[in-house]
Symmetry: C2
Subunit: 182 residues, 2 copies
């Protein structure tokens, strides 16, 4: 069935082809026959992992985010690499690389686009069940600087108030964790 | 206190300066003295509104999203315009423009960055309390094509399974709504 709101591409202009994002400007035909511009960012997608320790603490990583010029606490996460076809594999790899944990089982708990108004980035959220520390974990990416932090729900909420837990996937994961405990 | 993970900008190259986004490539100095590139997208920020009718249905709008080439159901939302300093004002305006509802009170329920790995877009989520239809609502943006849809929680969950409710702010809002009813 044709989407009645469909915007047909009349012309696509590639502005930037990068390591993380591609940027294009499309001229589109609107449903009323008029034309409009669409500024678009393309991204290969990412995963995030909600991991709760046996002590009922959420596993977070602190890292610097240049786009907002501060370091923040996020659930472990990472881009889906071009050679990875299953987000589950990305999730297992990132959990181990970033936090030195492995898990018995990864359960998919959400799947969303982060900002559909201009970007196609998809984020698949997993919950890691039965996590345990690895003795010889996968090496981190070169030049990846991060601290591992484990927080109770109340501590996590305090960091939300303070503003250094502040990204969509992490707020979603914390709300889901609280929901599961309710 | 200096952020120990701070990445100092050595050089910024502007790639694109658009209506919705600006794109820059920064060369940064890492904590270990090495340099790296950062692909960055700058956005003026946006709001989303969780609005529940007296019949306990969530108010959504269907619109086409060129970045993912399909129309999806989202909570009412919109960009913070350059002349708007208070996200609350944006939320009131967007609720009325997109859904023809006004409310007695807007409560801020979340504040997050959508994708901090490369983008500074901030999303402020509000919950509209006491919504009622407006007789002569604010006009919509020119060339804005959308349908208003009101769903029960179970219907909303079915649309999540079908994949046409699939964006971060809307999934967060629906989880919060379910949390409040639990």
């Amino acid at each position: 069935m044709k989407d009645k709101f469909n915007e047909e591409t009349l012309e696509r202009k590639e502005i930037y082809n990068g390591a993380i994002i591609d940027v294009c400007i499309d001229s589109v035909e609107l449903p009323n026959g008029k034309t409009a511009k669409r500024e678009l960012v393309f991204h290969n997608g990412a995963v995030g992992i909600l991991a709760i320790t046996p002590m009922n603490r959420i596993v977070l990583v602190r890292q610097y985010r240049k786009a907002i010029e501060k370091s923040i606490l996020e659930i472990p996460a990472g881009k889906i690499e071009k050679n990875e076809t299953d987000p589950l594999e990305t999730a297992k790899r990132e959990l181990e690389e970033e936090t030195y944990y492995q898990c018995d089982r990864m359960e998919q708990v959400a799947d969303f686009v982060t900002s559909p108004g201009f970007c196609n980035e998809r984020m698949v959220l997993f919950q890691a069940h039965g996590i345990k520390r690895v003795e010889n974990p996968l090496p981190r990416d070169e030049d990846e600087f991060l601290d591992i932090v484990e927080l109770s729900l109340e501590e996590a909420k305090e960091h939300i108030r303070l503003g250094d837990i502040c990204d969509a996937k992490t707020l979603y994961a914390i709300l889901l964790w609280e929901f599961q405990m309710k």
